[in-house]
């Protein structure tokens, strides 16, 4: 239980971060279309990372299939636009319903599996949805994808504030959940599911709650993606590597089960992929480099940049003290 001073400090940090992010489009030099695009992607990935972190970080159910929920959200907006002529923004609220149903389906099948089997189950679910979306051409237009004729705004600023609002809302929802008794139940399930069950926690119920909330936030990010990018196809939004794996990398790099890990991880990953892609010759091999990065992170910073922050500082300031476990 945090003391009053800690509580104040926590929200002061959060308020400062939100304040700084809110003025970015007004800062000369940062308000170019390109830089804002980077920031929009960072915020979108931080939402997906925070969502994954609830299920994988706190509840210990590692999903390799979050593309399933991202894609469901993205396609809900796309299909409403393409077939019914609605604004793709309806993908946000309607997508929440669709993704909830999807997550209950995935949960029914996968949540009875544990550890690596759960991970493999979700991986399979993501791929099943990708192949389904490719072949259900009457609904999804298959691999041709769905393109929005016009996007709502030409400027980046409105999109930036929409995704900032989504990120702040996601952060708040997760903060409340993780600090509540549910948060303790999630951690108990992560640490020892049988012990949690025998202490009277309905582990199936709480795992389902974590999965659904995680999936819905990911789906909202997916629906936003459709509105922002204006084009989706199954290879993009149901991608195993470019969505499911990158989601895990964002959280691993930033710090699993830390409050700021997903945001920090998203910033690092987006910057890194921009830099790597512009490198001559090896730019094409960015997936290889990401794989190497992941291995390095797992070996040297198992708690991520946020979780092992002190360890990193010590490393760069000279190794005067032995490296200990990083605080969360």
């Amino acid at each position: 239980m945090a003391s009053a001073a800690q509580t104040l400090g926590r929200y002061r940090t959060a308020a400062a971060v939100v304040g700084a992010l809110a003025v970015i489009p007004l800062v000369p030099g940062l308000n170019s279309s390109y830089v804002l695009h980077m920031f929009i992607l960072m915020l979108m990935w931080s939402v997906i990372g925070m969502a994954w972190n609830l299920l994988g970080g706190y509840c210990g159910q590692v999903s390799f299939g979050h593309a399933a929920f991202f894609g469901l959200g993205a396609y809900t907006g796309g299909i409403l636009y393409y077939h019914l002529g609605w604004s793709a923004w309806w993908g946000l609220p309607v997508g929440m319903v669709v993704v909830t149903l999807g997550a209950l389906g995935v949960g029914y099948i996968c949540l009875r599996l544990r550890g690596p089997y759960f991970a493999l189950g979700t991986l399979a679910m993501g791929e099943v949805l990708r192949v389904t979306a490719e072949n259900l051409e009457w609904l999804t237009e298959g691999t041709r994808g769905i393109m929005l004729e016009t996007r709502t705004w030409v400027a980046k600023e409105p999109f930036y504030y929409v995704i900032l609002a989504i990120a702040v809302a996601s952060f708040a929802v997760l903060e409340v959940m993780v600090r509540s008794k549910w948060g303790y139940y999630f951690v108990a399930i992560r640490e020892d599911q049988d012990a949690a069950e025998s202490l009277g926690i309905d582990t199936t119920l709480y795992k389902t709650i974590a999965l659904v909330v995680s999936a819905v936030l990911t789906g909202v990010a997916g629906a936003f993606y459709t509105c922002y990018m204006g084009y989706i196809d199954p290879e993009i939004v149901f991608a195993l590597h470019d969505v499911s794996i990158v989601t895990i990398m964002v959280v691993m790099v930033g710090g699993v089960a830390t409050r700021w890990g997903p945001l920090v991880g998203a910033v690092i990953m987006i910057l890194l992929s921009e830099v790597v892609r512009t490198l001559p010759y090896i730019g094409r091999a960015h997936q290889t480099l990401f794989g190497i990065l992941l291995i390095v992170i797992i070996i040297f910073l198992p708690n991520g940049v946020v979780g092992d922050f002190r360890k990193m500082i010590r490393f760069f300031l000279g190794r005067s003290k032995p490296a200990g476990a990083g605080g969360v």
Binding site: Y184, V187, A188, E191, D192, D194, A195, A196, E197, S198, L199, G200, I201, D202, T203, T204
Partner: protein
């Protein structure tokens, strides 16, 4: 109070328990003893609902435990102190204890129970803010027992509470078992430490390769020639 009627339990296709039956009366301390792999832990896991019998029933106060989900069993007043402690290592001592008092009746009296546990185990009070994973083996066992007591149980299942502990701590564990019995809580204890277990148990059952092969009072079994030869090495 607890009745196990002819259960057959399997791991996949492998049968581990054959027609195991026994009972525990209110206020008794009953022990289940046997060598490694005899099926002791399997029996406890079946009672607490983590495994389901393919045949037979498990009844607690007239309720069929084998038909309700495991998280509801604790609401009936049956707590489980699992093998190897099974604490939540990244939670503090106090948080671990609080996780023991989730059912509404126990939650209402949580502060009081916490004081009782701290009075019985002063070490836990000293270390209340410490992560459970950083405690010594003996302290972890005390914490696991304390967590079990937090649910205000009518009966406690102990799975190998003396496992891996120094002799002095083993003695302390059995003292705690005695205290718990004096408070009117029924105890079913599974142990490999046969001599000390039989000394505190009212009655005991001997499990061998998944079958109950002997039963009797603690002192009867301590005097039993076969038991002495097989488990006490005399």
């Amino acid at each position: 109070m607890l009745k196990v009627n002819g259960i057959d339990v399997f791991y996949g296709d492998v049968q581990v328990l054959w027609d195991v039956s026994f009972h525990v009366g209110e206020g008794e301390v009953v022990a289940l003893i046997g060598a490694n792999g005899a099926g002791k832990s399997t029996t406890l896991r079946t009672i607490s609902g983590l495994l389901r019998p393919r045949k037979g029933t498990v009844e607690f106060l007239g309720e069929r435990l084998d038909q309700i989900p495991p998280y509801r069993i604790i609401e009936l007043g049956l707590a489980h102190v699992p093998e190897a402690r099974r604490l939540f290592p990244e939670m503090t001592v106090e948080e671990n204890l609080e996780m023991g008092a989730l059912k509404p009746a126990a939650k209402a009296r949580r502060a009081e129970s916490l004081e009782r546990v701290y009075a019985r185990f002063p070490r836990l009070k000293e270390r209340r803010r410490q992560l459970a994973g950083t405690l010594s083996g003996g302290e972890q066992q005390m914490l696991a027992i304390g967590r079990g007591l937090m649910s205000l149980p009518r009966m406690i299942l102990f799975d190998e509470p003396s496992l891996g502990l120094a002799p002095l701590l083993v003695e302390e564990v059995f003292n705690v078992v005695n205290d718990i019995r004096r408070d009117g809580v029924t105890v079913l204890i599974v142990e490999q430490n046969v001599r000390q277990t039989l000394a505190v148990a009212d009655r005991a059952y001997v499990l061998e390769t998944g079958r109950i092969v002997r039963e009797g009072t603690g002192s009867e079994l301590l005097d039993d020639e076969e038991v002495r030869k097989a488990y006490l090495g005399v």
